[in-house]
Subunit: 665 residues, 3 copies
Amino acid sequence: MKRFEPIAKGVSGILHGGDYNPEQWLKWKDGIWKEDLRIAKEAGLNSLSVGIFSWAMLEPEEGRFCFDWLDEVMDGLHKNGLTAVLATPSGARPAWLAQKYPEVLRVRADGHRNAFGGRHNHCLSSQVYRAKVKIINTELARRYGKHPALGLWHISNEYSGECHCPLCQAVFREYLRAKYGSLEALNEAWWSAFWSHRYTDFAQIEAPSPRGENDTHGLTLDWKRFTTEQTVDFYLHEIGPLKACAPQIPCTTNLMAGYTGLDYARLAEVLDVVSWDNYPQWTGSSEKDEQIALETGYFHDLMYGLKKKPFLLMESSPSATNWRPVAKLHRPGVHILQSLQAIAHGADSVQYFQMRKGRGGSEKFHGAVIDHVGHENTRVFGEIKKFGREILPQLDHIVGAPKPAKVALVHDYVNGWAIEGMRGALQGETGYTKTLMAHYGAFWRQGVPVEIIDQGASLEGYALVVAPMSYMLREGFADRVKAYVEGGGRFVTSYFSGYVNDTDLCFLGGFPGPLKEVLGIWAEELDALYPGDENAICWNGKQYRAFELCELIHAQGAEALGSYAGDFYAGRPALTAMTLGKGKAYYIAARTGADFLDDFYQSLLGELKLPAYPGGGGLSVQIRAHEKGETLFVINFGAQERLFKLDGEEIPVEAHGFALIERKS
Amino acid sequence: MKRFEPIAKGVSGILHGGDYNPEQWLKWKDGIWKEDLRIAKEAGLNSLSVGIFSWAMLEPEEGRFCFDWLDEVMDGLHKNGLTAVLATPSGARPAWLAQKYPEVLRVRADGHRNAFGGRHNHCLSSQVYRAKVKIINTELARRYGKHPALGLWHISNEYSGECHCPLCQAVFREYLRAKYGSLEALNEAWWSAFWSHRYTDFAQIEAPSPRGENDTHGLTLDWKRFTTEQTVDFYLHEIGPLKACAPQIPCTTNLMAGYTGLDYARLAEVLDVVSWDNYPQWTGSSEKDEQIALETGYFHDLMYGLKKKPFLLMESSPSATNWRPVAKLHRPGVHILQSLQAIAHGADSVQYFQMRKGRGGSEKFHGAVIDHVGHENTRVFGEIKKFGREILPQLDHIVGAPKPAKVALVHDYVNGWAIEGMRGALQGETGYTKTLMAHYGAFWRQGVPVEIIDQGASLEGYALVVAPMSYMLREGFADRVKAYVEGGGRFVTSYFSGYVNDTDLCFLGGFPGPLKEVLGIWAEELDALYPGDENAICWNGKQYRAFELCELIHAQGAEALGSYAGDFYAGRPALTAMTLGKGKAYYIAARTGADFLDDFYQSLLGELKLPAYPGGGGLSVQIRAHEKGETLFVINFGAQERLFKLDGEEIPVEAHGFALIERKS
Amino acid sequence: MKRFEPIAKGVSGILHGGDYNPEQWLKWKDGIWKEDLRIAKEAGLNSLSVGIFSWAMLEPEEGRFCFDWLDEVMDGLHKNGLTAVLATPSGARPAWLAQKYPEVLRVRADGHRNAFGGRHNHCLSSQVYRAKVKIINTELARRYGKHPALGLWHISNEYSGECHCPLCQAVFREYLRAKYGSLEALNEAWWSAFWSHRYTDFAQIEAPSPRGENDTHGLTLDWKRFTTEQTVDFYLHEIGPLKACAPQIPCTTNLMAGYTGLDYARLAEVLDVVSWDNYPQWTGSSEKDEQIALETGYFHDLMYGLKKKPFLLMESSPSATNWRPVAKLHRPGVHILQSLQAIAHGADSVQYFQMRKGRGGSEKFHGAVIDHVGHENTRVFGEIKKFGREILPQLDHIVGAPKPAKVALVHDYVNGWAIEGMRGALQGETGYTKTLMAHYGAFWRQGVPVEIIDQGASLEGYALVVAPMSYMLREGFADRVKAYVEGGGRFVTSYFSGYVNDTDLCFLGGFPGPLKEVLGIWAEELDALYPGDENAICWNGKQYRAFELCELIHAQGAEALGSYAGDFYAGRPALTAMTLGKGKAYYIAARTGADFLDDFYQSLLGELKLPAYPGGGGLSVQIRAHEKGETLFVINFGAQERLFKLDGEEIPVEAHGFALIERKS
């Protein structure tokens, strides 16, 4: 196996750094800037991210540029052996730009244009905004594209939101015209005969709005798709000058864990590397923190799956996350667990927001490497330094190493949008991500690696594909599932699958639509249960709690493995298995707790004989495979010591501790 | 007694049908349209409602009409022996209309005009909108007014909401000018000297708005009255062409159970027949469902009382109601109980939303006769068919039969508005409808029929009139009450009565104002209790819980029957009776639970010797009187079998079952 | 000691009156007006407040004035020996003014202009509004400035809210220009390099808005300061004509207890006398009412402290407060306790909203001297009369008497704003006022008088200064604290102190910033605890609950008196004392319950040997010092009789009773 390439130029190990805003301290540069570099090295940092939100300092008035301070910063980084992650500044526009060209400000769904302020408050369709971004990005690329400190471009910041201005509406109409060709096709796809919504002119179409139409599902989905495409297009616009001047430098933009406003699977296609910002809400309660560890692991795997490649942890807090309702301090040790977990799941970096707490601004109480006190004799710094100086040097060989998995979990952003907009069953509480995490948990607790993919991904090579709540089946997915199962794969899906097509039109002829044959069932009705109400699934001699959603299905070819225990559908199938070709397809008809999912997937994993490293009680095991073999990251998020069994040996892992185990390949 | 006329032309029995949108399936008309008719007959349907929300399909561009498809549908209905309920399409306007004439879109209370979208999104004052509606209605009337399938006009759909556009504001000012004659009269009626709100020009008056004035009670009430009058006027505008072309066909518009935005008592005056949409939220929990049965019975009686005549159940769901937060399936049998209950309370139809689930649109998961699966082999269809083929045929003689009652309950929409806007006591929690239902329950549980009327109705012929929380006394009501009591009637009212006149001005000289003499009391103060706090009423040797509202009254001519048990007003009267002429007037000074109301009204009913059919435990008894005698509908909404005692006999009624008992007159 | 001057001209005793709106009853003036005066005297009133919200009646059209009715009212007051509190009518503008000059209507933070309606709905920057106010105020001053009934000017009513119109934005920019001199200074003060918010033109600056910028703390604070300054300026504009015509008549405007939209400490500077409106939410539950008594006492002391002088209770309800969610009646006796409490804390008046309940308007059910019934034979009137005729005459000598205190509590409005906007720790739940009341309670329960001051006040003369949560240290405060401690004072502060300067920039070099030396500590980190989580402080051999906020501090010169019991910071200091010069400074590092505060402050009070009159169980003791000695107001808000010990004697105070004790000086 070959040595993998590190992501950023100029750094051979795991990237260790964070967001750094020296422009906030221009007046103190003789003192504070020097201290920053000294303390960075003291902490074992090897990079810093600069230029994020620096537009007003780089171009204080239209066309007048001020790079002196950034020159000094870049040179300082280089002299001190630190790599620069250099941002384009489009995440927030200068006041003069908003003042002179109001069109750059965003219009909200209610039709009112924003005033200047905040971040992410600009129209991605505005030609003025695009022109100004091109100019500043070109200036940056020309000046720093060949700078020896430059390791990575950081494009804008946390792209998000949408704009409803007339310019965006016009581009949206062009998008629809290109997609559908004719209004006839659009009207059918959107089922616009409902409530007399038939469009006879593209100009009649407006983005979903609380003031206008907000319940035409095809429109809502296309608007969300369009918002993603506009973001992709804007990203490509941003990197144009960078790629022209510095083709060797990779580009990324930082994503956000639970953000659902963009189809990250689509956006990831145009990134050189995925990066994201991770702010788990550790509570200090052991039981809750085990769940948070699981969810954080889920998000890491979601990010890994976007390109099936190592990614960067672009932001994380070394202590309190100031914008949480309860901004709890990280307990001793949490910083190291959190950082190691990222690497265990495929990160090739641990980066912080932020290097130094600002004196002002709404994030001045966010955790940082350097506190307002100014020196490094703080508890938090001690944790960072321990991580940077004692632990990270052991992990150089991990850089670029993949995280192989035989189990795939299907997390589809577009399906998630469709479920969110769905009117029926449990409105607004249908819980797509919650359900995916519940299934994921069964593997996490067994130490079985999972790859998270979307419906557009290939299913080849997996021993097991899990796709709960596949409400919307995107074009081609059902065919791929069929071929996969016939070829010997195991497929699991659940209640609320195979209801609608790409534009949210119901499949006719019975649910789960194109998956009926593969699954061998017909889902006739979906019962919704009130909070507190329960049914149960009988399977393998045990009863398991069922709640919230219970589907009334008929086995039509499939074998009924389990059945309902109560209500008027007692005895009807609740768990089925269909044999097709060399494979098998399972259907779980009701929402269940972790007990059922643990037992069910353990039974499947047993059949499939997949390697597992069962932890339990907050012990997570993740594996990265590299040229020398593989590294097991055994992390104990629990409050008790655990014994980790490996090849007959018992390895103790202390509470809130970890073990790094190397195995030869 | 004569045989009553059925409401719709061409149907001799109970109307059985539902909303049908074949225009959504134009592409499938060779298959699906044929299936629709076959399955409709299989279900025992005798009608279908068409044209609701069909404007864009009937007039795809301004002035170009497309009736071919509807011709085919109407002919198909006729050929298959089905009656058409034909709708005017004004419930939702086509996109071209909104695009070309933005004035037709509604302006919200905050002053912002809506964009195109949704339903009920049009200005009833717009001359453009009225002209366009007149044209399409005229076309419909000319083409189908004599069509043999046509049985009933369905005007628009669920009229509701209000528009704050300049056109509406202008018409509102004209309404006020006509009502008050002068600003002086208006200023006095609205007590505008308060907070310097005196108007010196009609042009200064604007509809209530969160951005402007929203606490001038007279203004708020007049705005609500105006909204009702605009709706009545628009309805009359809509039926003009229909009555001109097809005077023999009755007209209705479908009302909504708990909707309080319109004074339905006023709107009902212009309808040929009342119809409404009933979506009880059955929970599957027996105890809750008994309460829901009671509340649904209340709403049926409310609709019956609007014209004191049989009505139509225009919409109901055969299973899940998709827009409920928990869209629970109807349990087996629920469909039949729900449908029979409607007829028991005076409905001459059972109609569904919807005939076939749409492929798209926000109601695609709403219960229907035909599911997405496309065939009739579904559990839900089985219930519909059983009802249509086995039960309905037994009820032909019920058509048109009245539902006589000796007890009247006063539910006054305008009084309800006044209570809602009231600032004092328990703000926003004063619970007018909740209270009316609590009183209603005491009769429902006794199987004593109740007629629900408003303050404007005649009181003649009733043995008992119950009017709790008559906060506002509309002009003339107190006089009618006095004459009624003097003539021998029993009248019951409660705390929070006789406070204000028609324009929300307090009566001077002591509450309950014009009812002081009839009731023989003075209500000095109204105490509000915090949630959880309680007092009690001592009456007849028992103590009954009193809560939320306790009035401190003085007997001034009345006899104190009961008194308070606690607080600083312990011993003061809490229940009084005043003898006046040949009758008696009772006052209940505090809010109580069902225990008190049951005992109190049983005592009254005992004195009055009114016939009663006590059920209990979810057993409801309703009676319709017809030419051959009367039919008792005994419906058991409970989860236990109940014995219904009649003339010494004990008739078992199974859980979720019913008995239809015919008695000769 | 000299006899103090009464506040209002023409009244020698405590002012007793209330808001009176005879203009609502013009039509009834021969009857109701006469009754008003008769009943006022019957109740022992000596004044009435007129003209509040009378603009539309005084100037029914632009430039046409109608004073006849007010002449008659003023003359009637005088003839009946009643003093007039005469209001300027600017609290609500006439409809004609809004109609002709829309600029006078307020623009909300979302940028939309209000329509006519409500109160407080006008722009304080509008030159039109100012001109019109000047005209009407001049007319009033000329006509009534020398009227023998006139005792006090009541300026507008409850100044509040803010306007975001272009005129206000322009004045705000002028304010900023004057304050900062240059954009450079402003940019640094607001730390605008954060998120690229650097301003390069004053015209770019807009008021905080949900549509624009709402998280630049310096901007938010300056906007709030500006709003206060605009209000002060408007007040001065209002009193101009009054002072010109009637310099002998004092002016006030009525403030509101918990209102935080204005810096009342600044506004009070321009008032001749402070007055406020007190609406405690008595519940009838003894335990809750003891807390409400404490909080009401707090607000009285807050008002007293604004000028360290007696104030007026301008409004209070004699019974229900109609706008409360639960508008409970005042229990018997509550009226007297509530009124006496005001005087005990420094009020020289007991005034009501309202004299007579309006027939209409949103406050028609608010408690009043005269009910809708019209006569005086009501329970509520009986309480008012007892107070006015039996109790008030005993208190003539109290008029003008101060309420001396040796303990100061620092309540700083600007600091409160900063805490409210803070992003970190417990967002939106930081509880500044709640915390101040908790500390206040420890003194209230001991019968130790407290003076409430702000950070701008002198600390001279106090034995103890308590300043919890001094998050923002306004310029000069830390220096004054230091001098005060060095000179022998005791100073107590808490967690979350010394974080930011006047513009919300963090102090560098360690918290509590400029107080580090005085307190001898460094506060390294602030832990936030989830609801339900707890730690404890060990002090003096006991453990006290700590919750919500726990600071991790280092003693650097201070002595650690108490320490944490749990979590990873167990054993670290939680309570410290620093000796500096002749004084001592204490730091409480965590939020605690009343148990700790009681014990801690009793220990301090014991050391300081301050006189105390411990009550307990709802017994409050307040003292006013006058020429003859001092009066102790011993008020029992509890439901049990209490024994009050004084000089060895035991004085019984009955439940909901009181004792007035005179002591010679």
